[in-house]
């Protein structure tokens, strides 16, 4: 730590700035709680809030400019800079909404959303269970597996590949989400219809990416496999599938977002009385916007965790890839 500080003597002003920013922020949040007397002190609060923002910006730019040799320190710094941006955003949101009495239905302050999340954990848990653990996971697994298998078939038979790829590319531009009402009609109101939408939405990205990935192995390596007299399947499993992994994981990442969207939007067309999409559409109708925001926060968290788990798995599987090896 001391050596890093010695190389970068500018670290201490940044820490001091951070302390001032935190103190100012505490003051502003405190002042918001004070009942309003005759004096309108909103300009002061606003000024302080803007000062916090500028200070945080300055601290961040100071920190970003540091060149850190240590990789852990570097990572910590990047995480801190990213997190502080989000925290400042939440802070400004809270202050502006409360200082200017923005109507609750338009934009509730983050603190109210937090309270709502804490108060309705059982409801949120039931919704997550219905939408994510049942619909998304089932549909995601089936859609990705089907896309993968068809991609292998398309790789084995040139004719199929030539026919399917242009169609697959075109379908990825289509508003597939529109099949949601049809699926609800076919498979009923429960999670099966949502899973069906997710299957269709995740199938094509997986197909297109896997087919592209299977061409990623170089000619040299393929020729080497041929000199070993390896069969099609040996080449596939030992060379071409590992080489295709970055592409496959790319599809898995794209699909993680698509799957959540598909399941939630499909619930707008009819569900049993549980599920994230159901909750969002009914609570919007009752103008309980804090519940809607709570649901969205949970969805965002779930989406990020889903994405993060896939990204971690990718690091483990494609440890050889330059983008990961290079750190």
């Amino acid at each position: 730590m001391s050596s890093a500080a010695a190389r970068n003597p500018s670290l201490w002003p940044a820490l001091a700035g951070l302390a001032v920013a935190l103190a100012l922020a505490a003051f502003v949040l405190n002042a918001l709680g004070v009942p309003k007397y005759a004096v309108d002190y909103r300009p002061a609060i606003l000024g302080a809030a803007i000062a916090v923002w500028l200070l945080a910006w300055w601290v961040n730019s100071r920190l970003s400019a540091l060149s850190l040799q240590d990789r852990t320190l570097n990572l910590l710094r990047n995480v801190f800079v990213a997190l502080s941006f989000g925290v400042v955003l939440l802070f400004l949101w809270e202050v502006l909404v409360r200082a200017f009495n923005v109507p609750f239905v338009l934009l509730p302050p983050p603190s109210a959303i937090g309270v709502r999340i804490a108060n309705s954990l059982p409801v949120l848990a039931a919704d997550v269970n219905q939408t994510i653990f049942k619909a998304v996971f089932a549909g995601y697994a089936m859609g990705c597996a089907a896309g993968f298998i068809v991609a292998i078939l398309a790789d084995r038979f040139l004719f199929l590949r030539r026919g399917l790829l242009p169609i697959g590319n075109m379908v990825s531009a289509l508003p597939i989400i529109g099949i949601a009402p049809i699926m609800v009609m076919w498979f009923g109101f429960d999670w099966q219809s949502k899973a069906a939408v997710v299957v269709v939405m995740t199938f094509f990205p997986m197909l297109v990416n896997t087919v592209a990935g299977l061409t990623a192995a170089g000619h040299m390596e393929r020729d080497l496999m041929r000199t070993y007299a390896s069969s099609y399947w040996q080449t596939l499993f030992k060379l071409r599938l590992p080489a295709a992994m970055p592409f496959i994981f790319n599809a898995l990442k794209i699909n993680s977002t698509l799957a959540l969207i598909g399941a939630i939007v499909a619930e707008f067309f009819g569900t049993p009385v549980v599920g994230m999409g159901f909750r969002i559409s009914t609570e919007v109708g009752r103008m309980n916007v804090d519940m809607v925001w709570a649901e969205i926060a949970v969805a965002a968290l779930a989406g990020s965790v889903f994405y993060g788990v896939i990204a971690l798995a990718e690091r483990a599987v494609t440890f050889w890839h330059p983008s990961i090896r290079g750190g």
Binding site: V81, G86, I167, P175, F268, E295, I296
Partner: protein
């Protein structure tokens, strides 16, 4: 000749295969209901009569391709475009908010990309949040944006366009960051030997280098903003637009209408993506690019 062998024949064969599977599926899915109808009416049709009946139900479980085609043709070409049943009318409603959202989203995406490329703090602090913002199932916000904006008196085109904007800014921002950073060190060094200012580097090197990336990401963005517009039409109470047409169809089990609305949406998507692709090719040619 190669094009015929490598592309047209395989694609046509697969499409025909899909149509065949679709017909079989239509027969299988509509058969139970038709059998039920016949039993009640006391009819015993021959097999071929029965097959024809499964393909001509007014509200089939799965409409046969020709039913969808006929419905699509009637509602597109045979109706006045001002009629509420005309698909052209609905497609136009959706298209207008798609285009508004797409234009806004592209502008926002480019602005963010320029900021990220030139300001290190923005790169470190904003980029992770932009990526995180896309792991949020943002379409879930759509009904709230619509309803809340309606509550304060903003209705019509703008709320839908906002949803499209949100969905379309991301691909453009990410693609443009990549594009603006695509000139390699050699070229940047060359600019430095010319003593070029950073504005000159930007306009004469970075911007031209980013054009192919811009159009590639605009293709993704226009498709995304169409999806946003369609979903944005759902909570408005099914007034107008392709999304409204879908929702109406699902209220009244008008499967044929739903399929032809879906087809109309797909046609719009294909037209939009091709137009962006065409604009990209024209621009590249005007900039003196050679066909690869």
């Amino acid at each position: 000749m190669d094009r015929l062998r490598d592309k047209i024949i395989p694609v046509t064969a697969i499409l025909l295969g899909i149509a065949a599977i679709w017909y079989v599926g239509a027969y299988l899915m509509n058969a139970p209901f038709q059998r039920d109808l016949d039993r009640r009416a006391g009819e015993t049709p021959t097999f071929s009569e029965f097959v024809v009946k499964t393909m001509t139900q007014p509200k089939p479980t799965l409409p046969a391709p020709h039913q969808v085609a006929v419905n699509f043709f009637e509602n597109t070409f045979l109706r006045k475009v001002t009629s509420a049943r005309s698909l052209v009318y609905h497609a136009w409603v959706t298209l207008s908010s798609t285009m508004a959202g797409f234009a806004l989203g592209t502008a926002l995406g480019i602005a963010i990309a320029v900021g990220i490329v030139h300001v290190t703090t923005l790169d470190r602090s904003l980029m992770p949040w932009i990526i995180a913002s896309q792991t949020i199932p943002i379409l879930a916000l759509a009904p709230m944006i619509i309803v809340v904006l309606a509550a304060i008196g903003v209705t019509g085109l703008i709320p839908k366009a906002l949803i499209s904007t949100y969905l379309s800014f991301f691909p453009v921002a990410v693609g443009m960051v990549k594009g603006l950073r695509s000139p390699d060190m050699l070229h940047l060094d060359l600019m430095r030997t010319y003593n070029a200012s950073s504005a000159q580097v930007f306009w004469k090197l970075r911007v031209p280098a980013s054009v192919p990336y811009l159009f590639a990401s605009m293709k993704v963005a226009v498709a995304a903003s169409l999806v946003g517009a369609i979903v944005g039409e759902l909570p408005t109470g099914a007034v107008a637009g392709i999304g409204a047409k879908l929702l109406n169809g699902s209220y009244y089990s008008q499967t044929i209408d739903m399929f032809s609305a879906l087809l109309a949406g797909s046609v719009v998507a294909v037209i939009l993506v091709s137009l962006v692709g065409l604009a990209g090719r024209v621009t590249e040619r005007a900039m003196g690019g050679r066909p690869a």
